[in-house]
């Protein structure tokens, strides 16, 4: 991995990102509209390198690892590409076309959130700063 020293680091950062994103009204209502259980699968970088968010039924919950229920959507990619993606440095359409991101399930809801990636990236930068990982911020 180019940006992470072990498989726990990205999950720490991404879970915190979702905790912060939930506090943003626009992002939280956008996530609720997605109404899916999503597994972000980075296990190509380690067996525990994944997390999930559950935004079904008007809630937003997140947790490390694979969800216990069958996810509606699985996004599989490397932890480095996930870092680029949350930093808004990876064109998601291009990444899907080039199989850097592999999608299983309906991505229609998530597509609605794509325009909000810029805002997510701003929050993510704050998260990295809070964690003392300024060196990981992509410019």
């Amino acid at each position: 991995m180019e940006y992470w020293k072990d498989e726990t680091e990205p999950i720490t950062a991404f879970l915190k990102l979702f905790e912060e994103a939930k506090k943003d009204e626009e992002l939280s209502s956008g996530l609720k509209k997605v109404n899916q259980l999503i597994w972000f699968d980075y296990t190509e970088d380690g067996p525990n390198c994944s997390f999930h968010i559950d935004c079904r039924g008007g809630k937003i919950e997140s947790g490390a690892g694979k969800p216990s229920e069958t996810p509606d959507l699985i996004m599989s990619l490397s932890a480095d590409d996930a870092h680029r993606s949350w930093s808004n440095k990876l064109n998601p359409v291009m990444a899907i076309t080039r199989r850097k991101i592999r999608v299983k399930g309906s991505a229609t809801g998530l597509l609605k959130l794509a325009p909000k990636l810029k805002k997510v990236a701003t929050i993510y930068e704050g998260v990295l700063r809070d964690l003392g990982w300024q060196d990981k911020i992509l410019k």
């Binding site: 064109n91 359409v93 291009m94 990444a95 899907i96 076309t97 080039r98 999608v103 309906s106 991505a107 229609t108 597509l111 609605k112 794509a114 325009p115």
Partner: protein, 622 residues
């Protein structure tokens, strides 16, 4: 012959004659089918001096080699000829069910000249083809005509018909198949109208086709159909139609707003999105023959001022043309406007573009109530659009109808006052609903280079800039940033060649994103036995592009016409692309250089034509 049947129906409506024609096999090999073969046929046998609405004008419908082969997205067809809207080469593609039926009947296309002395239709039933009286259908809308033809001939007969707009020679009249699928662009409905031709009806009772390597093809088709069906883009479009990503486009500045005066309108994205259409009005999903993408919509607006019964629903272009482009985010109104255009037989892009121009002209005072017969044109006033403007255009009613039925460019020329500057087109064809300032600067280049005029489906540049396709085997590996000119001419030369292949093979751009270059080559070789490699396929694509431009040159177009209007090139005023200049002249010069084209005449240089096996064509222009 494999793939294509090698036979075309020739109809002379003035003489009442129907012939079977076998064009030289070499034309198929060099120009494939669809709009490529139509262009070759027109170049060789068309009257290039003829007014597009005169009896001498030639109208060509042409299939691609894969029609009817049960391959997802590959059973479309093309219409071509001299466009009455632009005055030069035009072509348009249509999905639906006509192409496979024509192919099963044994024909690759229909070439029509002359003018019938009374309203007529062409009836094709297997090897029999005849001209029939259609007087009782004249004046009817598309839906009623379609139903009437099915009652008369049978529900499995496939139809291509025009509505009142075509009969009244509206310059952007469309031709519809089964009342749902349109040859929308460039006004060929008016050409049919000028020939007193209300429709074409076809029925085949057999499905025999000669394929070069049936087993290899069957295997490839199985694989491709599965990949196309399972592709992420397909599932997204199946769920929410071609407007599935309208919100993303609205955010990036790709969706034109109020006649390209703005690139940002926050609430509009969700209001007009494909998902909103699904939630509110979708009753069924629909598809063209054999396509597993199923991007077509069937909708019903149950109540309200824009209520419509269940029937064909709008796709992305129609939603934006009758939405953001004219200052409305009323999705029900866009459904109603689209339905009206379907029934009148009018291109929604040119209709929306023309009305958007008129609304701006009215706001500026360049167009006055005196010009419009007292009709006030205000942004977002969909009641007026639906109740007054669209019927007036289709029926050429009153001053407003007479003016706007000619399209935005002719209307602007007529009223003057500098209003041409805010038309949005290239070569006289109103621009589709993707603003290159937000959507991608490469699109500005390909809009301008497209032989028929501003067009987003002449080639896959829109998808390439979006990142939705890449072709490493032919050097298209760039990771493009839409809002710059970097690597755009280099991408465009590949894109236009591939686009010419797509439109000659009549393969839908929404479905063929999954088709790799090796797949394309294998398809042509297994179906038609061309014996191509990727280089030869791309050379064929460029040849088709060059030929269409030679035709345009004969119509008087030069490099100067490869342009966009000032409105489309001024820096965006807001949104993501705000203030960014498009380096249009730089991209254009580089494109010309890479394509081996003459920077003044706008056509391929003699040596370029020679490299593409076009010495005969060259001698007619150099």
């Amino acid at each position: 012959m494999h793939g294509n049947t090698g036979t075309i129906i020739g109809v002379d409506l003035s003489e009442g004659r129907v012939d079977k024609i076998n064009p030289p096999e070499e034309w198929y090999l060099c120009y494939v089918g669809g709009s490529g073969l139509a262009a070759k046929y027109f170049w060789e046998r068309g009257d290039l001096e003829a007014d597009p609405l005169s009896p001498e004008a030639m109208l060509l419908f042409m299939n691609g080699p894969f029609a009817g082969l049960k391959l997802s997205g590959a059973s479309r067809s093309s219409v071509g000829g001299r466009s009455p809207l632009t005055g030069h080469w035009g072509d348009s593609s249509c999905g639906g069910y006509f192409a496979p039926e024509l192919r099963y009947a044994g024909y690759d296309g229909i070439v029509i000249t002359g003018r019938a002395d009374k309203p007529s239709l062409i009836l094709i039933e297997d090897e029999r083809a005849s001209i029939e009286d259609a007087s009782d259908f004249w004046g009817l809308g598309i839906g009623e005509t379609n139903r009437g033809l099915k009652e008369r001939y049978g529900k499995n007969h496939r139809t291509l018909v025009i509505g009142p707009a075509g009969e009244n020679l509206v310059k952007y009249a469309a031709i519809l198949n089964e009342g749902h699928h349109a040859f929308g662009r460039a006004g060929f409905g008016a050409v049919m109208g000028s020939k007193n031709l209300k429709g074409i009806v076809v029925r085949a009772t057999r499905k025999e086709m000669a394929i070069a390597h049936p087993e290899r093809f069957a295997e490839l088709r199985g694989d491709l159909n599965l990949r196309i069906k399972d592709a992420l883009a397909s599932s997204v479009m199946r769920e929410n139609g071609t407007a599935a990503n309208l919100e993303g486009g609205a955010f990036s500045g790709d969706v034109p707003i109020r006649n390209f005066t703005s690139n940002f309108w926050e609430e509009m994205g969700e209001a007009l999105a494909g998902s909103t259409l699904t939630e509110k009005y979708l009753t069924r999903r629909w598809q063209c023959a054999y396509c597993t993408v199923r991007c077509k919509r069937v909708v019903e607006v149950p109540d309200g001022p824009f209520a419509i019964p269940e029937g064909p629903g709008p796709e992305y272009e129609t939603i934006v043309s009758f939405g953001a482009m004219i200052g409305s985010m009323d999705l029900a109104a866009a459904c109603k406007a689209g339905r009206l255009c379907n029934d009148f037989g009018m291109d929604t892009i040119s209709a929306g573009g023309t009305i958007a121009w008129a609304m701006e002209a009215f706001e500026r005072g360049d167009l006055t109530p005196e010009n419009t017969g007292g009709v006030e044109l205000r942004w977002g006033d969909m009641a007026t659009v639906v109740e007054i403007v669209l019927p007036a255009i289709a029926l050429r009613k009153g001053k407003l109808g007479e003016l706007l039925s000619e399209g935005s460019i002719a209307s602007a020329r007529r009223i003057g006052k500098g209003s041409l500057a805010y038309t949005c087109h290239s070569k006289g064809l109103e621009a589709p609903m993707h603003d290159p300032r937000g959507g991608g600067h490469g699109l500005a280049l390909t809009y301008a280079m497209s032989p028929r005029g501003a067009c987003h489906v002449a080639d896959p540049m829109l998808f390439i800039e979006m990142g939705a396709c890449y072709y490493p085997e032919i050097g298209l590996e760039y990771e493009l940033e839409p809002k710059t000119d970097e690597n755009k001419p280099e991408s465009a030369v590949i894109s236009i060649a591939l686009g010419a292949i797509e439109n000659s093979a009549c393969f839908c751009q929404f479905a063929d994103r999954e088709v790799t270059i090796p797949d394309w080559v294998e398809l042509f070789n297994t179906v038609a036995g061309y014996g191509w490699d990727a280089d030869e396929m791309m050379r064929t694509g460029r040849r088709i592009f060059h030929l269409k431009r030679l035709i345009n040159y004969r119509f008087g177009l030069t490099a100067e016409d490869d342009d966009l209007t000032p409105r489309m090139l001024e820096p965006a005023r807001d949104g993501e692309p705000e203030g960014i200049e498009i380096n249009f002249s730089g991209m254009k010069a580089k494109f010309y250089e890479l394509m081996g084209m003459d920077p003044e005449k706008g056509i391929a240089l003699p040596e370029t034509l020679q490299q593409h096996g076009m010495t005969g064509e060259s001698s007619r222009v150099w």
